[in-house]
Structure formats: C-alpha cells, structure tokens
Symmetry: C2
Subunit: 283 residues, 2 copies
C-alpha cells in the first residue's frame, strides 16, 4: 500500500493504471475509518483491480461554527485499517494542496442541497460536491462508493454525476449499524456514556416509522409526529428535523404511497447525528 | 466528418479514440462559425489526431433579455466550413439533451465571474463554466481551444481547469480581425451599414490605449478617459465599460507597470460588442 500526498503523483498513478487497462474503485472519506467505511472499501476491493481511499477532512464542507478543528484525525490507525483491507493507495492531500490560496471554483447541485441537512448547513453540500468533483478528476475512478448513511450526499453526488456526465459509476452501500442499531459515524466518538444510550433513539424512531407505515399509516405528518414524540422523551436529544421525502427529489411526501426516504437529524448533547431508512410500502 | 447529436454516441466515440491512443483536440462553439473559430480549428487540426467541434447555443449563458432566440444558427453552413477544415466530428446536441427537465448542477468560478462583462450579465459565466465542464466530461479532450477575443471567458475556463484539476490543456488563440481591425464575432452580423463603421471604434480605442501606454502614460484613469472620449464621438456607440485590469485576477490596475488587459464592451445600436488587447509595458 502506498500513501500519496500530492495531486500530481495521484493523477499520474491513475493514468498509468488506466493505461494498463486496470479499473479503479474509489472510496472518498474524511478518515476516522469505521466499519461503515470498511464495508465500502470491501465492496471496492471485490469489484476493481485497484482500490484508492482518499482521506481528507474537507474544510469547505464545514460551517464556521462546526467541528472542522476537532473532527477526529488519525492517519496511522486509518492506514492500518486500509492495509488490512488490501487497499492499494491512500490519497491524503493537505488543505493547501486541495485549496491553494486564490482557489475559486465551486460546484452546486441546486434544490437538493437546500433541504434536509442543507437547511441547517448552508454551503455544506456545495463543499461536498466540489471536493468530490475535484477528487474524481484527480483519481478518475471507474466506480466510486458512498454510504447510504449520508443519504442526501449520495443523492446529490449521483445527480452531479448525471448532470455533468462524469465518467464514473456511483454505488451506494447500505448503512452499517452497531448491534443495538446505532448507525456508525465518526462523530459517535464525541458521545459520552449516557448520550450513547440516548443516541439509539434515532434508529428507534426510524424503526417506529417503518412499523407504522407497514401497519398502513399513510399520513406523513402522523408518522413524523409519533417519531418526534419518541425522540423528545430522551433528555439529551434535541430534534433538528424529521422528514419523510421522495428519494428522487428530496421533496416532502404528504401521503405515503410507495418509496419514501425517512430521514432525521438530532442533536445528542453537542453532537449532531443523522440517520435514515428507505421504506417501500409496495414491498 | 460525422455529425453527432447524442451525448452517449459522443462519449463512446471519445472512449474508442483514447483506447486507440489517439489525441482529441476540442473547439467549443455556438456555431455561426467565422474565421476566428476557424483559426482555433486549424490549430486543433495541427496538434491532434482527432478534432471535435461542438456547436451548441447554450441557453444558460444568456440572460432573460439577451439574444438567445435570435442568435444566428446555420448548421449547414457550419458543417461545410468544418468539412473544409478536415474536422472529424461535429457534436451538436439539442437543448433537452444537454439540459433535460430537472437539470440542477452548476459550476461557478467566483470573483472572476462578477467583474467586467460579468457585472452586466449575471449568471453568464456560470452558464459558460457549466457547459464547458459538461462538454469536457463528454468529449474528454487532450487540448481545448478558446479565443483571446473572449478574454474573460478564457481566464475563467483556465481557472476552472486549474482549480478542479480537469485533465485537459487549455490553449488561447489570438483574436482574428477584419482588415480594418474589427474583431470577428458572430454578432457582427447584427450590424447595419452605419453601425459597422461605428463598430470600428472599439479597436481604435484599444489602439489608442496601446499608443498612450507605449508613450509612457501609466495612469489607467487617464488612458480610460481618452478611450471613452474617442468612443463617445460615435453616434451609435454606447459604452458599457472600459477597463484596465490585471489579466490574472481581472482586478483594476491603477498604475500600469507591466502586463495589463485592456477590455471594453460597447453597445453599437442594439448590438453589444466586446474586444480587448493585452499590453505589456516591458516588451
């Protein structure tokens, strides 16, 4: 396994790989790798000749008051995990390599970026789309892997690729959960013991929604009401949003008829957690 | 020569070309080809195995009140001209092929897009950057050719390519002029006879600036003042802007010390014309 720090070396490696007619699977991450990331990496390993994992805590997707500085960074542990999964390349440029002074270009996916998490994190998805576009150009992957955990991000990246005709296939990999149901997230590391217990309520609320819909409830506001009631029972929980939307355009669904994305964001103490499930009434 | 209308066919052609280790030179145009375009095409022909010319009147770079509808379109004449220059492919997708319903993704080059023409054409350079990014992904050229006539556009595209690390080399080709100095433009076709005479004042003003600077004038406001005076003598001329800027960041230069871009936009009747020259005091 090789660790590459510069754009030039990375893109030269990719060019050589394609000249040998080998395929590249790419897993973009911000490091602090957990089983969720590893499931993406394993999928990439199965399907490609070469696996590239990027580790870059992308400053432009963090708001002024967000956790850019304290976001967990541990390249040594991440490299160990990647080596174990037989990754070929870790690409970890520094901030100045990706955004030199005088950097000016941004990619925006309209509408999809302004709802759900986007309402509360202005500029976040522009930051995500921009860094992913740039990484795609540098690494030129055949397939790139994203987690269903970040549902809105996945939908935005798929839309960007479709609209701008990037030559890459996007695969979305199911969310990995702890045994008790908590979705894996690098930010779970911020949780104290009592908060860890309360954090379970995100998954419990999603499970409640699934059961209500399976039982025949079709009124989104009723389902959302019951989810909120459940979450509000937890002392450390503070709801940012609970939404039932169309997974294609992320617009609110009033009556649940077929496939919906149930998504929520909840502050547990000072840690903002997100989770989601897709529910298809017809299956 | 082949005329391709769909993105799929175009990108398949490009993939096959690269598999044969052939290079692609790309000239993006809005059609209504004149000697300016042909000089780009000839340069592309010299330097590449395959030459692709795109002809697409890009709706998203026109303002509501601009000339999208009346912009000259004549694929038959354009195809004749391309055939004569030994072009391999004309790519001319229709509007729905490039921007299907529900299209959402835009590329913005900040700061550079808001000055000079950008002040008067909000969204214009976002439209340009977006369509060029998309065409680059579809055609995957080794080299793309742009005209110095659209100086701001060239600078924005170069910045986009540098920032997002597109794998394409950008070449800027000198402006082609009529014998009397008028820069070639598809919009010159809009000019009536008297206007055609008055339109010459753009080049005359630029020539005046060059002479003044060569004579040792270093005060931009003085040079701009004399240029405006000259232009205002023409009855049908209405100045939109006259500017002396740094060609790197397009910011106004107060004292002319080395390389400057002298750029102007003038309405001749109902036709908006632009022109520019780069002047280096040191050479």
């Amino acid at each position: 396994m090789k660790i590459i720090h510069t754009i030039e070396e990375m893109s030269n490696f990719s060019k050589k790989t394609h000249l040998k007619a080998q395929t590249i699977g790419f897993v973009p991450t911000m490091g602090a790798l957990h089983e969720g990331h590893l499931s993406l990496i394993r999928q990439a390993r199965k399907e490609n000749d070469i696996v590239v994992v990027s580790i870059f805590v992308n400053p432009i997707q963090f708001g002024q008051k967000e956790d850019y500085r304290r976001y967990p960074r541990n390249l040594k542990l991440d490299a160990q995990a990647c080596r174990k999964e037989d990754v070929d390349i870790i690409f970890c440029p520094d901030r100045e390599e990706m955004y030199p002074a005088n950097y000016k270009t941004y990619v925006t996916v309209r509408d999809l970026s302004d709802v759900l998490c986007g309402q509360f994190r202005p500029g976040h998805f522009q930051g995500v789309a921009t860094v992913v576009a740039k990484l795609f150009h540098i690494i030129n992957p055949d397939i790139a892997y994203f987690g269903q955990k970040d549902a809105q991000q996945s939908i935005i990246i798929k839309k960007m690729v479709e609209d701008l005709k990037f030559a890459v296939k996007i695969k979305i990999i199911p969310t990995i959960r702890e045994k008790d149901g908590l979705a894996l997230s690098s930010r779970n590391a911020y949780l104290h013991k009592g908060q860890r217990r309360d954090a379970l309520v995100l998954y419990q609320a999603l499970t409640l929604a699934k059961n209500l819909i399976r039982q025949g409830k079709i009124d989104s506001s009723e389902v959302i009401g019951k989810m909120k009631e459940l979450i509000n029972k937890k002392k450390s929980a503070n709801i940012q949003y609970v939404a039932i939307v169309d997974p294609k355009d992320l617009l609110p669904v009033d009556k649940i008829r077929d496939k919906v994305l149930v998504a929520l964001s909840v502050w547990i103490g000072k840690t903002r957690l997100i989770d989601n499930i897709i529910i298809d009434r017809k299956t």
